[in-house]
Every structure is written in structure tokens, then in C-alpha cells.
């Protein structure tokens, strides 16, 4: 009996140790995996390329060099995928995917794919794999694929080749550093600070917001639209009255260049929501918070969950959406450590087909918060 229980205790102890070490190993892997992917990517580059990719960690100019605009208009730092050989390209995408969750990386891939569709439409060719879900208007050729009034000389404005990667600081498991990846409708600013991973500020966007690829309907920012509409529909009339703003919003309020600003929150405060509605609000938030790798996302969601009663939800525009399509309304979620904006664009005629979104932590843009600590 005594021997048996001692054996059992030892077995349980061993199991606990194994579990703990596995957990510890997994917790470590997030940052160390990203660091080794970064070092691997850098090792594929030649000296000149490496020089173009690397910036000082505190390079404020490069930090803020991101935009929703095509790269031909707003040149990003770093090097684009189009200037890489297949091995470098694959190493770059492995690095990006190592810092993101599976869901997050898939979203990034879809945004890039969408830009490829836009490029095909722009050239007047039938978009690849597009079986008729073109943006409204059918996409007649616009001649030389040149922006009017003398845009940049390059014919290439869109497409998945035109995404840039840059690294600020030295990839490290202890010291903070940053990975940037972005182009048209995408700006990932990922700060790695020890075990922590910070995704703010990050911009996602989509045009077309709905397309088909290999027979599959794709909406890169579909969940962002659907979960928010579901939350709005779950509100009662009185709550809706508070949540729905009386004025129009044509664009992001805190878009590129508006770092660190906290505007006066408006709309419906989550303390006036019931438990189910608050869970739905967190579900909307997680569409952005979960883009980063799982352990960083879990930490971030825990922080946002603790703030939830101080979090506001505001809506402006139509309160319905055509089945299977995105909303054409603007919405904003704002809390002590959070600003999310979802801003449909009238450009293109159908606001449900073109959207810019912003994900921020005004107290911790570019990981300034934990770095300062």
C-alpha cells in the first residue's frame, strides 16, 4: 500500500514535470522560433539586401513608414518580395508566419491574394480564379494601367509581390526588436520583447473584400464584419440607440500617422452590456488580437478582457448587410488599451467591397510600453 502510493506519487510527479517542461518549452518556442526564423531569413540575404532590411530598433521614421496605400505611392522601408529569390522569399514568409497565428497568417495571405485579384482586374484581364465576383463595374481596361495625373512610373501598383519586410533592431530572445511586413492594405508592426509579442499598430484592409480563388469564396476581413454585425444585432433598441452614432465617418480617425492618440470614446459602453454581449464584443476584438502568435494573443486577450467594462462600441452606417457580404458601416471599439476601427471606403462604388481597418494600443504602439518598463 505504502509502496504503491509512493510509486503513484512519483509517477504523478514525473508527469507534472514533463507537462511543465513541455509548457515551458512551448512558451519559449514562440519567441525563439521567431528569432531563429529571422536569423535564417537574414542568412539567405546578401550584404546589400541585409543592409536594406535592417534598421535601428528606435528608428522612429521607419517605425512609422507604413500605410494603407499602394507601395508605389508610399515607399516602404525594407525589401519587397519581388526582389527576392525563391529561397529568400520562402524564408521571409516563414518568418512572418512564425510570428502569427495560423488564422492570422491565413488572413495576411488572403489580403495579399486580394491585391493580386485587384492587380488582375486593374490590368483588364479576368482575375485569376475569379468566376465573376469582380468588383462592381466589371472592370473595363483603363488603358496603360497608370494612375492619372502622372503617378509613379512603375506599372506595378498591386499584387502579392509588392509586400515589404524589414527588421528593426537585432532579432533577440531578450532584447526588444521589431518585424514589419506590409504593402497595400497591410501593415504588420510586430514588436518582440522577450516573451511578449505586440501587434500594435497594425493595419489590415481589403479590396475587393470578397473574391473567389480556386472556386472558394474568400473574404479576408469577413469575420471582422460578421462578428460585429452579430453584436449589433444582439443589442436591444436602447443599447442600439447609444451605440449608433448620428454622423457619418468617411475614413479611419486614427489611421497611419496618428500614433499614440486617444480620442474621446463614444457609443455604448460594455458595462451596459450583458454577459453574452460582452463575450460577443471580445469575439470581435479577437479578430485582430488573434492575428499574432497564440501565446502573445492569449496574453493580449487576457488584458483586453480585464478592460472589457471600460470598452466602448460605436457604429455608423447601415445596420444590415447583404447575405454573404461585408457590412458597409463604420465601427469602432475603444478601451483603455485598445482602438479598433473598421472603415469602409466609398472608393470603388460599393463600400462593402473596400475596407480599411486599424488595430492600436495607444498606450503601447510599437511596444513602447513594455520597452519603457
Amino acid at each position: 500500500m505504502n509502496v504503491l502510493s509512493r510509486k503513484t506519487a512519483r509517477g504523478v510527479g514525473a508527469l507534472v514535470l514533463i507537462c511543465l517542461s513541455v509548457t515551458a518549452a512551448r512558451a519559449q518556442t514562440a519567441t525563439s522560433r521567431i528569432v531563429s526564423a529571422a536569423n535564417n531569413f537574414l542568412s539567405t540575404l546578401d550584404a546589400k539586401q541585409r543592409q536594406s532590411v535592417l534598421f535601428a530598433f528606435d528608428d522612429e521614421k521607419q517605425r512609422a513608414t507604413w500605410s494603407n496605400l499602394p507601395t508605389s505611392f508610399v515607399p516602404r522601408g525594407g525589401i519587397p518580395l519581388k526582389d527576392m529569390n525563391p529561397a529568400q522569399r520562402s524564408a521571409a514568409m516563414t518568418l512572418v508566419s512564425s510570428a502569427l497565428s495560423r488564422k492570422g497568417f491565413e488572413k495576411v495571405r488572403q489580403i495579399m491574394e486580394g491585391d493580386e485579384v485587384l492587380k488582375a482586374t486593374d490590368n483588364g484581364q479576368p482575375p485569376r480564379g475569379n468566376n465573376g465576383n469582380q468588383p462592381p463595374g466589371g472592370g473595363p481596361p483603363n488603358g496603360g494601367n497608370r494612375p492619372p495625373f502622372g503617378g509613379p512610373p512603375s506599372g506595378a501598383m498591386f499584387g502579392k509581390d509588392l509586400y515589404y519586410i524589414s527588421i528593426l533592431g537585432k532579432p533577440s530572445e531578450k532584447e526588444p526588436w521589431m518585424l514589419q511586413f506590409g504593402g497595400h492594405h497591410l501593415a504588420l508592426n510586430i514588436t518582440i520583447a522577450g516573451e511578449r509579442g505586440i501587434l500594435t499598430p497594425t493595419l489590415t484592409g481589403a479590396q475587393p473584400a470578397l473574391f473567389t480563388s480556386n472556386g472558394k469564396t474568400i473574404r479576408p476581413l469577413g469575420p471582422e464584419s460578421d462578428t460585429a454585425l452579430a453584436l449589433l444585432n444582439a443589442l436591444d433598441d436602447n443599447q442600439k440607440k447609444q451605440a449608433i452614432l448620428s454622423y457619418k465617418l468617411a475614413d479611419l480617425v486614427l489611421g497611419p500617422g496618428q500614433d499614440g492618440k486617444t480620442i474621446q470614446p463614444e457609443g455604448l459602453k460594455a458595462s451596459a452590456m450583458n454577459g453574452r454581449q460582452r463575450a460577443m464584443l471580445l469575439d470581435v476584438i479577437s479578430q485582430w488580437a488573434d492575428i499574432i502568435h497564440e501565446s502573445a494573443a492569449a496574453a493580449r486577450m487576457a488584458e483586453l478582457k480585464a478592460d472589457v467594462n471600460e470598452t466602448w462600441f460605436a457604429w455608423s452606417g447601415p445596420t444590415t448587410a447583404a447575405p454573404g457580404k461585408n457590412i458597409s458601416a463604420y465601427y469602432r471599439i475603444q478601451g483603455p488599451h485598445l482602438v479598433i476601427e473598421y472603415a469602409p471606403q466609398t472608393l470603388g462604388g460599393d463600400p462593402s467591397m473596400h475596407v480599411h481597418t486599424m488595430y492600436r494600443d495607444p498606450t503601447n504602439d510599437y511596444g513602447r510600453g513594455p520597452v519603457a518598463k
Binding site: 462592381p136 488603358g143 486617444t262 472608393l347 462604388g349
Partner: protein, 456 residues
């Protein structure tokens, strides 16, 4: 001309195709305000879409040389500011240009240029509640607007309301400002208890004052009992006839004012913590005050000195008011604002009641029905005060509270009924025939009355 047409056609085609990823046919103007203690900092971004870029550019590069000179930059920024109309607390205010930053002309032409203008608006000293209105009239026909304000860095400034029209060209910002040391403590107190009471501080304490006097029936009963014999003349140890309308009104006014002065003094002293009296003896003294005025209504105890008595007992009633105010737990300076609000509430309710009771009181005093009202009222007040005495002094439960409450509860009906009754009594007491006789008949009657004594 031809190239312009081609370009426009190209834009329209692209619009149809939905290809361009940037702003097209709108001029986006975004303003973010930041409210500080003595000024507003504003940053403005102006982004002309590609289809309106040449239009906008024409008003920037005014000499058309393809270069945006320093002078042109400044002139355009100043023009934009002139197109804003700003008021602070209803007074017109003008913005001061701090800086302007222009993109390259090519960027503007491509619909990507962002013009940045920083400006400030000076804020004169104002009250604790302030309002800034900003209207943007710049290029209304092609523009879309965004108007916002930052969460104030100064913890003493709190945004209360933001209102906009649908396209945000009109923006109204309401905010509360506290803790300005150059303002008297009173204002701080006011906004501080506004915060405490969720915005409606003054109003809510005012209402509390009104409710206190309406529900605290002992105060009203004292006053009304004291007013019962007000329109009468004292003749020795008895109440004699009507003293005249003017005389009555003057007396009522004196009594009410004296009561107000009395209770205001002690309310202020006690609320500020300068006087501290236990509440039990005060409650007993209040019951005594009612008894005294009830007896006085039966037999004149202090004819002509009612105002003095009202002021004296007012001092005691004020101490009771202070206890109610004390329950709110306001700070010392907050109390000053609280006292004012509370007292105004009491005064308002008091005047409403007196205004309702006075006309029937004066009317009935001119009739033979007067003793019934006076004695009835005095007895009611007397018994109520005896009930309260027993309750407050001896701890015996009586139905005084319930009885008075039920009367007070039907106060409006009782006042209305009293008014009707007084009108009826008054009409009855007059030479009624007057109303349905013509002048000739009346003259005859009067002549007959005149002849009356001469019995022949």
C-alpha cells in the same frame, strides 16, 4: 482641354473598376482637438482626392507656377483657418496658425498628399461648464469631414458631450473644467459635486430641498399655522375682524421672509460645521414651535410680533435642514454650493405652498367663515404637534405623522377645495343681489337701505 477630358474619362473608368486604392472624389478634412486649461490645440489634416486635386491645387498654387512656395503654403493655411468659425462659450474666437506642412505637388496631384495644419485657440477664463463650437466651411461642396477630440491630459478637464451634424462639418464640444485655482472655491465645489451626483448636482440638491419641505410637513405646518391669523387684527386677547388686504399680504410676506432668514442662518452655520446641535432636541423644539403658533392662531399670544417668532423658530428649523444636507456627505466648500441649492429648493416649495394658501386665507378672513378655518387649522396643527411631542420626547408612537402626511398627500386637492370654499364664502358674504340687479334696481335698493333707520 482635351487632356482634361481624357483624364476625367480615365478617372471615371477607374472609379467604375474600383481599382484605385486611395481617395478619389472627396476632399477629406480631419480635425482632432486637444483641450488644455487655457487653450485648445488642434491638428488638421487635409487630403484632396485625385479627382478634386487639381481643383484644390488651384487654390494653393495661386500663381500656377507648379511650385507651392512658402508664401502660398501660409496663405492657404490661413485661408483654411478663416473658413473655420469657432465660438467658445458662445463668444466668437479666432484660431492662431502654429504651423503648416505641405506634401510635394506630385503627391497632391496623385490624390495622396496630406496637408497638415496645426493651430490653437486661446481660452479666456470661463465657468466650470464650457462649450466650444467649430464649424468647417472650407470647400463644403467637395469635402468630407472628421471631427474629434482627444481625451484631455489634464485630469481637471472632462469631456461631457460631443455633437455633430451628419457630415461632421459642425462640431460642438461640451466639457467640464474643475480645479482652476484662479476660480473661487465655489465653482470647484459646484463641479465637484456635479461629478459626485452624476452631472445634475445643483439641480438634484435643489430638488432635494423642495422635496424636503414638501415631505417634511412639520416645517410647513409651523408656517401655515403662523399664517392662519395673519389677515386678522388682534383685539385684546381675541382675534377680531379683517385687517385689510394690503395689511394681510404685507404680514404674510414678513412672516415668510423672517422664517427664511432664520432657517438660512442656521442651515449655513450647521452645514459648514460651525454649529453642532444634536437632532433630538431640535425635533422636539420644532414640535413646540408648531404648538406655539397653533395656540397663537386660537388666541393672540404675540400679536404684531409674528415675524420675530417666525425668525426665531426659523433658526431651529434651519438646524434640521442642515442634518438632511449633512447626510449627503459633501465636502466643506461643496456644502456652500449645496446650501445655496438646497435653500433655493426649500424657498421655492415654500413660496408655491404660500401662494396656493394665501388667496383662500385672505378671502375667508373677510367672511364669517373665518373662525372655522382658523380654529380648525389651529386645532389640527395643535394636535399634530402634541403627537410629535409624544413621539419625539417620550418615544410614544402616535398617528401624527400619518395624519399630517395624508393631509399633505392630498395637499393639491385640499388647497383647491379651500380655494373654492373661500370663493363661495366670500360671494355669500357680499351683497349678492348686486350681481343680478341692474343699476336702477340697485340704486333703489341702496336708497331703501339708506332710508332704513327712519322707520315711519
Amino acid at each position: 482641354m482635351k487632356t482634361k477630358l481624357v483624364a476625367t474619362a480615365a478617372i471615371l473608368l477607374m472609379l467604375g473598376a474600383g481599382v484605385l486604392a486611395h481617395r478619389l472624389d472627396e476632399y477629406l478634412q480631419a480635425i482632432i482637438l486637444s483641450v488644455e486649461k487655457d487653450h485648445v490645440q488642434a491638428s488638421m489634416r487635409l487630403i484632396p482626392g485625385v479627382a478634386v486635386a487639381s481643383n484644390v491645387l488651384a487654390s494653393i498654387d495661386t500663381n500656377g507656377d507648379g511650385i507651392i512656395s512658402e508664401a502660398e503654403q501660409r496663405a492657404y493655411a490661413e485661408r483654411v483657418l478663416r473658413d473655420l468659425s469657432i465660438t467658445v462659450d458662445g463668444k466668437s474666437a479666432s484660431p492662431t496658425l502654429v504651423s503648416q506642412k505641405f506634401p510635394a505637388i506630385e503627391e497632391i496631384k496623385a490624390g495622396l498628399g496630406e496637408i497638415q495644419i496645426e493651430f490653437t485657440v486661446e481660452l479666456a477664463h470661463g465657468g466650470p461648464e464650457r462649450r466650444i463650437v467649430l464649424e468647417n466651411h472650407h470647400r463644403n461642396e467637395i469635402s468630407v469631414y472628421l471631427m474629434n477630440c482627444l481625451v484631455p491630459r489634464d485630469p481637471d478637464i472632462r469631456i461631457v458631450a460631443q455633437n455633430r451634424n451628419e457630415n461632421q462639418s459642425f462640431y460642438q464640444l461640451g466639457y467640464a473644467q474643475a480645479g482652476d485655482s484662479s476660480l473661487p472655491g465655489f465653482w470647484n465645489a459646484w463641479s465637484s459635486f456635479r461629478r459626485r451626483t452624476g452631472g445634475g448636482g445643483f439641480a438634484s440638491i435643489f430638488r432635494l430641498g423642495m422635496r424636503h419641505i414638501a415631505e417634511g410637513t412639520d416645517h410647513l405646518l409651523f408656517l401655515l399655522a403662523l399664517l392662519l391669523p395673519a389677515p386678522l387684527l388682534a383685539l385684546g386677547s381675541r382675534w377680531a375682524g379683517f385687517a385689510g388686504a394690503r395689511q394681510s399680504l404685507l404680514k404674510i410676506l414678513k412672516v415668510v421672509t423672517a422664517f427664511t432668514i432664520g432657517h438660512s442662518i442656521t442651515l449655513a452655520l450647521a452645514a459648514l460645521g460651525l454649529v453642532r446641535v444634536p437632532s433630538r432636541p431640535i425635533e422636539v423644539l420644532i414640535a413646540l414651535s408648531i404648538l406655539v403658533s397653533a395656540v397663537h392662531a386660537l388666541r393672540p399670544l404675540f400679536p404684531g410680533r409674528e415675524a420675530l417668532i417666525a425668525a426665531f423658530f426659523g433658526l431651529i428649523h434651519g438646524l434640521a435642514f442642515a442634518a438632511t444636507l449633512g447626510e449627503l456627505g459633501l465636502g466643506r466648500w461643496e456644502r456652500v454650493a449645496g446650501i445655496l441649492a438646497f435653500n433655493l429648493g426649500i424657498e421655492t416649495m415654500q413660496l408655491i405652498v404660500v401662494a396656493a394658501i394665501m388667496p383662500p386665507l385672505v378671502l375667508i378672513s373677510r367672511t364669517r367663515a373665518n373662525p372655522f378655518l382658523r380654529i380648525g387649522g389651529a386645532l389640527f396643527a395643535g394636535f399634530a404637534s402634541l403627537g410629535w411631542f409624544a413621539e419625539r420626547l417620550l418615544g410614544i408612537h402616535t398617528s401624527a405623522d400619518a395624519a399630517v402626511d395624508s393631509v399633505a398627500h392630498h395637499g393639491v386637492w385640499i388647497a383647491g377645495g379651500l380655494f373654492l370654499l373661500s370663493v363661495v364664502c366670500w360671494l355669500n358674504s357680499r351683497n349678492l343681489p348686486r350681481f343680478w340687479m341692474n343699476s336702477k334696481q340697485r340704486g333703489f335698493l341702496l336708497a331703501a337701505a339708506h332710508r332704513g333707520p327712519r322707520t315711519e
